[in-house]
Symmetry: C2
Subunit: 137 residues, 2 copies
Amino acid sequence: MEQLRETLKGHHLRTTTCREDVLSAFINKKNALSHGDLEGALGENYDRVTIYRTLKTFLEKGIIHKVLDDEGMRYALCSNNCSEEKHQHDHIHFKCNACGETNCLENLHIPAVQLPQGYKPENFNLLIQGTCPKCNN
Amino acid sequence: MEQLRETLKGHHLRTTTCREDVLSAFINKKNALSHGDLEGALGENYDRVTIYRTLKTFLEKGIIHKVLDDEGMRYALCSNNCSEEKHQHDHIHFKCNACGETNCLENLHIPAVQLPQGYKPENFNLLIQGTCPKCNN
DNA sequence: AAATCTATGCAACAGCGTTGCAAATGATTA
DNA sequence: TAATCATTTGCAACGCTGTTGCATAGATTT
């Protein structure tokens, strides 16, 4: 509750009910969410457009980051405190082909890759698809 | 020319001018292409829908694979011969934030990642964003 | 060349994501 | 607490992406 306001203020954002609810959704459901997921959860309270704009704002302010997916864009909380200036991730995301959920594997790091001469890497994004523990009986 | 037909026949596809042209585009421009790119290049000759269906067919037959991107889907040729049955990739794609091009780094392999217990990985997709040699002066 | 099967173009549609603008809301000051 | 100002929201409208059904055109087989 109060923590939500803290987070928003910390990123120089006004506290509105929509922003609180969207942020809350990310915190409660720990997996990555699409716009459609949020619209399904909050769509009766807020306009489609407002949710889009909330996502855009959260992206810019470094509260969430994009999660690449082979069938659409998803979003997840930034673990380390990103800001408008610094927005770096070396994320590993695991998408389960059975249940469809995508999760950040927070504690893992992407191993170093030896790139050919001339390439200057800035961001790494590894998507692993397979079966997650819940679906893997 | 003749090679295009060979490739198509090898994947049990009829040779049509649209398929030849799309395949040709992937071979000539070596970077990953979006539907929009192809529509820009071939749009006056073929219907939008036909290009979509061609991409879908090529995907199913293992001629091309999806390339994840933070701003839309792209496609690139499969290097090792994929088929309808076997369609595995451990690709590294590099997207240049300056020129916007995305390329497969064919010769590199994704280093092994130690996943937590219970995760069964099947496919790996690493997107590295940064500056490519051409734009990196 | 005829028959058969597949691919194409067209029209229509659903979903995604954005923009402009007026009204509502949050923050700030008095 | 009320007034003010800046920001956010909802609505309407739009363009882009991707899909489906169906009649026609084209490729393959005999």
